[in-house]
Symmetry: C2
Subunit: 491 residues, 2 copies
């Protein structure tokens, strides 16, 4: 039967991805430098083989025939998700795929030294080539998918999401965010916050991280914690490889990093076992994934009731100090300060960084903004949203992120979609189970059970809109997020 | 050109093997238990894909055409080695491959609990099935290769080696070994040897292991040291993954284990860079591989001059104790004691364990011995060679090794071939460079340079006979091994 043949074919794809995920993790955590060339070649062969498998000529027939077969509703969705993956892998001409990948590698590689040198002039021609090829990719995708160019890229990370929706929800956020930021800054201007005094030995930080992961229900029979320069949550659902990095002077940041990645990890570990090897059993979207990490980090871990549980753990591992007092920790973890760098931004100013990037990348892809004009546009929007100027400061401005260097246009919105979904989930959860502080104090597992029931177990069996509407009672909107920020920062 | 097409094809094979080697290492060192099912499936898909690639229909034409092309001498050998790998992958009917693999998995899995239970009756039917299918595999291989059944299996591990040669060389060893063992036992009977007193913390043992690996020239830019239940040398030449295990009560054993694996590792790291991705660039045979680990462990590390360098390292990591005195360490590392277990055997009694297994497996495969009669045969040979009875003691007798459970018949001789090759290499090296004690004391790198020049750089570019004859001035023989044992243990 064609459906079974497709299933077998995509399970094999999944096995190849498994090997790539483990070797990718190894590359970031274990591999000595001298192994990198051989590894890059092996990974490239894997990518080629995996792509060849997806392009096997019999697949088109199998899809046509499977779509005529009697299938259960879940099998029908599974078939759709297989088709989506197949379509994504086959819709672009291979010379465009090659040129796009090469331009991205070149630009990203050069960026690693051009950014610290603040060298916009050196970066621009490489970046222009990436933008140019991204536009071509977008045009080709748009043609097949019947979407606008930018939406066709967005579709890779957020299936079903459209820029019309983003425009609407971001327009709303822009109306209240700048005012909110300045109110919070006023309110916090007289606070005295103590920073924990290090050094904090790496081994102890690791032990603390493991304790907190256990508290958050991470399953160590199906995963582990290691160290990498850029923290990530990798591996496979059955064996989630979470990483962090340690700064001996700063225990607070690594701790929150571990909690953030644990949110990603629990989503992966909570995906339905029976669908794990197929596209329909994968995480729904980058935004939903980020909603889980941000639920863990922002809704849960920075909540005063959870901080009350973190405080004694810190004391246990590093001895008593005034900065570990729950009230001080809560203030430390909710400091708001507009800054240049997205990855260092707090929960309140973060959406400004994302909206700015969204507007620029949308206009770049749609051909309404030239690559050479990005710095000026960046500076203007930074002034508008956060009151900061990046004139001449490219390295802390439009050259700060890796995303655009390899053509990952359409990715940035996922961060703020995640924050809004997380707030919607926290709001719905409280409406159903009672106030979060009581849940945290008395029944932490009930929080995870709610997420398992409402988000994790559905994998990609529901489209994002249905998933969120079913879990939260309403589709994507910024109200819960606004309410959450007002309550936490002005309440 | 067909030769280039084949080269590309086999480089892809090599990349797939790379991914398998890293994921295999991960499985043994890093993977949480819960990940094992998914990993087994992913590895199985990799094996299937890799096998499919080797069976691609165009390969036969490419070989035929490449063999008519003008090639350099090295390319000609490379082509031969590709053909050998291709031939091995395609000569068996796939239903036999499947049945053999399944029977092996079943028997090996059951063995893990049947061995500790000393349950020969439970083991026998599973073992009979493995022997039966191994005979079928041997018959099919023998037909294609024009070899005897057993030789056709031996050919997998020791290309070019024949049982006629093994019979001859082992017959010679059997003439002097039992006498030598009893003489050594007599000589050592009045020795008092101190055992180092633990505990020896794992972290310190690891630091010591790293120091010794550095001393032995292991390249940490292309490899690392980790922990696994069964130590091995894995990974790829560009990134060698060496493992060991630590016993907090016994520092001496883990240390020798690390040195042994470092011998394997330096061979891998020393393979010629320009041939690394092709069969001709791989290690020559299991016996040659073992000759490098045994050169490091037996010829080099147990030499009194090297023990003089180990002694201060032990003191540095664990403080002073009488057992770390070089003379005591040398005695400790050259204790001879006939025992039941091959993997615990010393250098002198080890060949007896191998010859016994060789005779039994050769007769099993040739149909001259029935599986049910193995215990009796084992007991007789143990009595003859080592004066020990294993009657009724299956777990320390014929059920002690994993090799036969999955049908790896033809592998055991490699261990003693390795010991003999290592002794031949040490003898030739000394004839060329001067006495080993002077080299160890004054110029350790010259030893590694000799091995690089005479063994490592040749990979599979020479057949084993030529490799050894060219390096040592004569083909395989037991004289140097006998001389080495007599000099070390009776001199």
């Amino acid at each position: 039967m064609s459906y079974d043949a497709l299933t077998h074919h995509f399970e094999q794809q999944h096995h190849l991805q498994h090997l790539g995920a483990i070797c990718g993790w190894d590359q970031a955590t274990m591999m000595p430098t001298g192994g990198s060339q051989a590894r890059a070649e092996a990974m490239s062969t894997l990518a080629i083989l995996s792509h060849q498998q997806l392009q096997a000529p019999q697949l088109a027939d199998w899809f046509a025939s499977a779509e005529q077969s009697p299938l259960t509703p879940e099998q029908t969705v599974s078939l759709q998700e297989m088709r989506r993956q197949w379509r994504d892998a086959t819709m672009l001409p291979s010379d465009l795929v090659g040129a796009f990948s090469l331009a991205g590698s070149r630009c990203e590689h050069a960026w690693r030294s051009l950014r610290p040198a603040n060298d916009w002039a050196g970066f621009l021609p490489l970046f222009e080539e990436v933008v140019n090829l991204s536009q071509q990719v977008a045009a080709a995708r748009a043609e097949v998918l019947g979407l606008s160019r930018y939406d066709s890229l967005l579709e890779q990370f957020e299936p079903g999401m459209r820029s019309s929706t983003l425009n609407q929800v971001f327009t709303e956020v822009k109306q209240w965010l700048p005012t909110l930021i300045s109110k919070v800054q006023d309110k916090q201007s007289h606070d005295t916050v103590l920073s924990p005094q290090g050094p904090f030995a790496t081994e102890q930080q690791r032990a603390l991280g493991l304790d907190v992961m256990r508290l958050l229900g991470f399953d160590f029979n199906h995963g582990r914690l290691d160290v990498s320069v850029h923290p990530f949550c990798g591996g496979v659902s059955e064996d989630v490889r979470l990483t962090t990095r340690y700064d001996e002077q700063d225990v607070a940041q690594a701790l929150m990093g571990v909690i953030h990645e644990t949110g990603h990890a629990r989503y992966e570990q909570g995906l339905p076992v029976q669908w794990r090897k197929l596209p329909v059993g994968q995480a729904r979207s980058m935004g939903i994934h980020e909603s889980q990490s941000l639920f863990f980090e922002m809704q849960l871990a920075r909540h005063p009731a959870f901080i009350k549980q973190l405080s004694p753990l810190l004391t246990q591992h590093f001895g008593d100090q005034a900065a570990f007092d729950p009230n001080n920790l809560a203030q430390l973890y909710t400091r708001v300060q507009p800054g240049f760098i997205r990855v260092d931004a707090d929960e309140v100013t973060y959406p400004a960084h994302v909206m700015l990037r969204y507007e620029i990348e949308r206009d770049l892809i749609e051909g309404k903004l030239a690559a050479k004009d990005v710095p000026e546009c960046w500076d203007q929007l930074m002034q508008t949203y956060l009151g900061l100027s990046t004139k001449g400061n490219y390295k802390d401005g439009c050259m700060q992120d890796i995303h655009w260097t390899d053509g990952s246009f359409g990715y940035f919105p996922s961060y703020t979609l995640g924050a809004m979904y997380a707030a919607q989930q926290a709001s719905a959860m409280q409406a159903q189970l009672g106030p979060l502080d009581t849940l945290i104090e008395q029944n932490l597992p009930s929080i995870f059970d709610w997420l398992q029931h409402n988000i994790w177990q559905h994998a990609s069996l529901l489209d994002t809109d249905t998933l969120i509407t079913q879990a939260c009672g309403q589709p994507l909107n910024a109200s819960a997020f606004k309410q959450h920020l007002e309550q936490r920062y002005l309440g």
